[in-house]
């Protein structure tokens, strides 16, 4: 077994384990910390696949910036442990087998019937120059349109989070 494969499987195991732990933990901070493990392991997977740039971005943006935001929000909300109700037991009873069947089916389709061939490492364009070419040339329009998306998201936050009284006075 070559060393690459061992590493790939190890990162994969961390990833899956972290994701399961994320769901199993009751306290949001613990869940957030397992999400960091998932993100970091994913970055390792990207690196092994030869996408160095994506791996670096994954660490900086997801494991770094976005997770910090997550933790801030959890602390600001002062979110406590989640409570389990009867509904959540039903959700587990139905959801776990459903999810297992779903993921086994997906894995089977992807492995056996994807219609694609395996690509050797490094054959995929993962170089920053290739990505820049895609992002700022071929996909320039989606890249620019994303700014509208961010703008309305900010506006939405302002609208929904501002105090209703200060907005225009109450009805009645």
């Amino acid at each position: 077994m070559n060393f690459h494969l061992v590493l790939f499987l190890a990162f994969g195991a961390v990833c899956v384990g972290g994701a399961i732990n994320l769901l199993a933990q009751r306290h949001p901070i613990n869940s957030a910390l397992s999400l960091i493990a998932v993100m970091a392991a994913l970055a390792g997977e990207y690196l092994l696949l030869g996408a160095e740039f994506v791996a670096a971005v994954q660490v900086i943006v997801y494991a770094g910036a976005i997770m910090v935001l997550f933790v801030f929000v959890i602390m600001l909300l002062n979110a406590g442990e989640e409570e389990h109700t009867n509904g959540s037991r039903v959700a587990i009873l139905l959801g776990v087998p459903g999810m297992l069947t779903g993921s086994v089916l997906m894995a089977w389709v992807m492995l056996r019937h994807s219609g694609t061939e395996s690509v050797p490492i490094g054959a995929l364009p993962g170089h920053p120059k290739d990505i820049a070419q895609l992002l700022f040339h071929d996909f320039l329009l989606p890249f620019e349109v994303t700014s509208v998306l961010i703008l309305i998201a900010i506006m939405g936050a302002v609208v929904l989070a501002s105090q209703p009284e200060s907005a225009a006075g109450k009805v009645d």
Binding site: L105, M106, V109, M110, R112, H113, S114, G115, T116, E117, V119, L124, P125, D130, Q133, L134, H137, D138, F139, L140, L141, P142, V145, T146, V148, L149, L151, I152, A153, M155, G156, V158, V159, L160, P164, A167, A168, G169, K170, V171, D172
Partner: protein, 511 residues
């Protein structure tokens, strides 16, 4: 088989040409007006300023329609195969922008009555329309995804605009949570489609799938895309959110949400179904159409709240529309296009009446409140009657020809079973629409319901909706011919028909 991207003449043509900008001109114009509204909002004073913002937003939509005309003069691809200007996209551009114009007119007085701050409201409508317009012209799944998100997020926020009502917050949150779930399905579908074909460009995917045997992964991908879009158009079994969201959201916004984002999502679905043309979609659509029609109409029978009733009715109409998707590409596309236009006219009109009649805090929205409306406000009652008759599908209204074309396209494609289900359902639907009319004209009002005079802006909106409904019902040929021409264009760019149910036996029904 995998072809990621061709970097052939890398930097020969690095800058977008002016034709590229012309082909997204309506989106540019609408964005600029949206930003003007945003920037002026804090400068203008609270009272009169709101009205000015409404007028600017209205001017923005009119300029957008003008820009669409300009855009229609230069058909073709832009921004390296991202958007395509053809008859199809022009049709949906005009439709979506016109819907926004009518909604702005409907909201003009409503905002003051409900004491909602207007600046962000109008800006969100304009930006939302940017997303919807882009959805109709995009031929790249990545761009479609971003445009879909723009349209969805603006709808989530708009649904929560009645800030002091718990129902509105519930509506917004429910729509947001379920909507992001559905969008995740769509995005997963895009990723799987890229895995199956090595491309996210719709034309290229279609070509790729026609070239060889279709991998199972592509079927799964289309199923995921259908789940995502089925949620947006409120088709069963992804319709559960609709009544709650429509009940809590402001009435003009419901009129907007139930027509414009739906029309745009149907445009995307048309492109995916008929241009990518994966054969197995047939049964997916058949089942969803039959379920939507039945669940929508049966659900509407027991409703007492007019907004909930119209929500179920919109599920049923999504079902009728999906019938067209199961038909042959050419006829199906034109029938679906006509249906979205006719449905937009009548449904917007109905919600315009509801939004005025509901009064401050939207208090009067039950069926009992509508008793005796024929006497207390003949104008509102007459307008609502026309829209309801059109929703039933009575001749001389747009709703009649819309249903007629859809069902005749279905019969020509030998979908007898689906047509029978559809016609039976229209019969069921007639009952609850007629019930409102009976309430308005044949019952004495038992409750004291104040009816304020209809303001000018709302009159304008109602007149536009009535004119469109009657026009489509009396002279449908012009719009239909335009739809047929652009449908032919769309289908020509795409593969010839693959026999829809013959070659699917090996594939299990997933979802």
């Amino acid at each position: 088989m995998i072809v990621i991207a061709t970097f052939a003449p890398a930097f020969s043509q690095t800058l977008p040409q002016s034709a590229d900008y012309v082909r997204i001109l309506p989106e540019l114009v609408l964005s600029v007006f949206g930003m003007i509204v945003m920037l002026l909002e804090p400068v203008l004073d609270e009272g009169k300023g709101q009205k000015i913002l409404g007028l600017i937003a209205l001017a923005g939509t009119l300029a957008g329609i003008g820009a669409t005309w300009f855009m229609a003069q230069s058909p073709g691809l832009a921004f390296w195969n991202m958007v395509q200007v053809d008859g199809f996209s022009v049709f949906f551009h005009v439709l979506v922008i016109a819907i926004a114009a009518v909604v702005i007119l409907t909201s003009y007085e409503y905002m003051a009555v409900q004491r909602i701050r207007a600046g962000e409201y109008y800006a969100l409508i304009l930006f939302g329309v940017v997303g919807m317009a882009l959805m109709s012209s995009a031929v790249e799944l990545v761009l479609i995804f971003i445009a879909l998100e723009i349209s969805s997020i603006s709808s989530y926020v708009l649904a929560g605009f009645r800030r002091h009502e718990a129902a509105s917050a519930e509506s917004s949150l429910k729509y947001f949570l379920l909507g992001s779930f559905a969008t995740a399905f769509f995005l997963y579908g895009v990723a799987l489609m890229f895995g199956a074909t090595g491309s996210t460009n719709i034309d290229q995917i279609g070509r790729m799938l026609r070239a060889g045997a279709i991998p199972l992964l592509a079927f799964v991908a289309v199923a995921f895309l259908f789940v995502g879009l089925g949620f947006k158009v409120a088709a069963a079994p992804f319709h559960i959110w609709t009544p709650d969201v429509y009940e809590g959201a402001p009435a003009p916004v419901v009129g907007f949400m139930s027509t414009a984002p739906k029309a745009a999502a149907f445009a995307v679905l048309l492109r995916i179904v008929f241009v990518i043309n994966v054969p197995n979609t047939f049964w997916l659509i058949w089942i969803s159409a039959a379920l939507s029609m039945t669940l929508g109409n049966v659900g509407a029978l027991v409703q007492n709240n007019v907004k909930r009733l119209l929500a179920y009715s919109s599920i049923a109409h999504a079902g009728y529309l999906l019938v067209a998707f199961a038909a042959a590409p050419g006829l199906g596309t034109s029938a679906a296009m006509f249906y979205t236009a006719a449905y937009a006219a009548m449904n917007l009109g109905a919600f315009a009446v509801v939004s005025h009649f509901a009064g401050a805090g939207e208090r009067y929205v039950t069926l009992e409140d509508y008793e005796g409306l024929g006497r207390s406000s003949p104008l509102l009652a007459a307008a609502l009657t026309i829209f309801l008759l059109s929703l039933i599908g009575i001749p001389m209204t747009g709703g009649f020809f819309a249903k007629f074309y859809v069902f005749s396209a279905a019969v020509k494609a030998n979908l007898i079973g689906l047509t029978i289900i559809g016609v039976l359902n229209s019969g069921v639907g007639a009952y609850y629409y007629l019930r409102i009319i009976v309430m308005m004209y044949m019952r004495e009002s038992r409750k004291e319901v104040p009816v304020t005079p209809v303001p000018f802006a709302l009159r304008l909106a109602l007149a536009a909706c009535i004119a469109a409904t009657i026009y489509l019902g009396v002279f449908p040929s012009r719009v239909l011919r335009y739809a047929q021409d652009s449908a032919r264009q769309l289908v020509q760019q795409s593969p010839p028909e693959i026999p829809s149910s013959a070659s699917v036996s090996t594939v299990p029904e997933i979802l």
